[in-house]
Symmetry: C2
Subunit: 114 residues, 2 copies
Amino acid sequence: MKTTDDQLSQIFAALADPTRRAILARLSSGEVSVNDLAAPFDISLPAISKHLKVLEKAGLIERTREAQWRPCRLRAEPLKDAADWIETYKRHWEESFDRLGEYLKKIQKKEKRS
Amino acid sequence: MKTTDDQLSQIFAALADPTRRAILARLSSGEVSVNDLAAPFDISLPAISKHLKVLEKAGLIERTREAQWRPCRLRAEPLKDAADWIETYKRHWEESFDRLGEYLKKIQKKEKRS
């Protein structure tokens, strides 16, 4: 299954909100009902539902139909596609941090000498 | 330097668009002028400028002031913060893929027997 450009955009858009990221963090330790998910946040149930819809559309959560309380469950697989996309830039950020490290070393040497 | 919740949201929001991801991909091979960046896309220069502003605000590109043509340059460091956040879910997607693998093995065994 190949993630399309549009799916990748939906995944990143879903992650672009601290409440939605907190919901995913909560679900990473197991299934949770919508009411329990909403409890720690100072926002309305409809607002939580809206966030859940965004996460569901991005494929990052699913609402199970088995139990009557219809708990939410994390679906982490699409996060791998996001991780794979970002990882293609790893060489670039490693080079930047290497350059910063070299620069700091130079500064420290100069300070020692003076 | 710790990335705040808000910065992380800006980074993910910046990545949630195929044109902006294509701009980053283009810049990963070196500095490019705004005109050259716009060329492969069928959108106006003001539209490209808007995308560049989103990327700049997220800290993913910078406009150099050295040259008169003010080229854009990739800044990959914030992508590491995004990667670090996503990586915390790695165990979850690996478990999902393991479960899928086990399931496929079971199916194949059944097919062999019948």
